[in-house]
Symmetry: C2
Subunit: 242 residues, 2 copies
């Protein structure tokens, strides 16, 4: 059996997230359907991260096992001709058999985009916020999240995880034109973690919380202490590193 | 009666173009509906240009006459709360009564975006072309179109215009990342003109036509001599100048 790694971009707008669900349009589901046609077998595709409904990806990675003898270029072209236009496969590689898209990943990098002006074009890819924000307190608070912490307070309460420890290698706001972007890279992310971080940092930027509250929230290990979950459409999985 | 000028952005993807048509979702139609609610009267909205189905705008301008006493800021907020999310009004101004969005315009500026890589995110805003293009011959040919010409060969054959003379103040290709953009500014544009210019320049970039063929095509005054009409989704009305 060969192990094949895919590099995938998708517009999450019209999907019920990554993971296969009965009767629902999902990214994994569409890819597995295309792969089944391509290699004439059922395929189990494993993604690096299960993005939620409405979340986008420029650099999702996934792998599958196959006995197909198709070369990787043919696979790539075949997949793109079979896939709907909101999923694009950018690269197909044959990798060593112990490669695992999820467990072998060293880090994931996400971007969350906030639009400071109302817009029609590209509105599906950012969260529109028209109130005043203190970007400097938002940056201070972000710095406090950097490093290894228990992120239970920033994790969806109904998640099944037991280990809430994540290491944030990088977390940084950038501002360009009318868009404010949070870039965040970590070894792993819990469910809704980036969106809850964003929701909390926005509370701080609005003056409803202090930057130092981030420490209290981390220590509480209680989802109710953090801010609201920011909407899915601003979030994009940029890169997975192995 | 007051004369009110609007600055409008829209995502043309889900519209049958600017102009009101029975039973079809159009930008003018949605705006007139919102205006009717806002000022409690039927409103006739006149746009600077009638963009086709699928064409976008970042800087469309339109005007209407009203006896409403609402201040312009209230109008702007009211319109944005009444409009669907794929239309945004960025500015509302009261202007002298002789202002006319269409006839007073000195120039219109359009952008046409060509994506050199397949993509999922933002695919609605560019034309994806994966074949080799000679950008240098495309630039040479664009230069030949600059200035005052009869553009009948670059105009939809079933148009009702009698005057085919337009002056191109500027026409230029720019390349950034994986996107090739034609920026073009003229006193006026004929129906499908930018898209036919793009389709023709692409024929030249592919080596199917020579740059100098542009002169022959202009002289022919015959739509059949030019290249195909490029798809609508790559086109965006950027600015109207008065």
């Amino acid at each position: 059996m060969r192990t094949i790694k895919l590099l995938i971009e998708y517009d999450g707008t019209d999907f019920f997230g990554w993971q296969v669900q009965a009767e629902k349009r999902t990214i994994q589901g569409e890819l597995e359907t295309a792969l089944r046609t391509l290699v004439n077998r059922d395929v189990n595709l494993i993604g690096a991260g299960r993005t939620d409904t409405g979340v986008h990806a420029l650099g999702q990675v996934a792998h599958f096992k196959t006995d197909s003898e198709l070369d990787v270029l043919t696979m790539c072209r075949g997949l793109n001709s079979l896939l709907p236009e909101d999923i694009v496969v950018h690269d197909v590689q044959e990798v060593p058999s112990d490669f695992h898209a999820r467990f072998a990943a060293k880090s994931r990098r996400y971007q969350y985009r906030i639009s400071r002006g109302r817009k029609a074009l590209g509105r599906q890819f950012s969260w529109y916020l028209n109130y005043q924000l203190n970007v400097s307190t938002m940056a201070q608070a972000a710095e406090l999240l950097r490093g290894k912490h228990d992120f239970r307070s920033f994790c969806s309460a109904d998640t099944e995880t037991r280990d809430y420890t994540c290491t944030l290698f990088n977390i940084k706001w950038a501002s360009e034109n009318n868009t404010l972007t949070l870039e965040v890279e970590a070894d792993r992310f819990l469910q809704h973690m980036v969106r809850t971080i964003v929701g909390t940092l926005i509370e701080i930027g609005r003056g409803r919380k202090d930057p130092s509250d981030v420490n209290t929230i981390l220590q509480a290990q209680d989802r109710r202490k953090a801010g609201p979950t920011a909407p899915a459409q601003g979030l994009c999985l940029m890169e997975v590193t192995y």
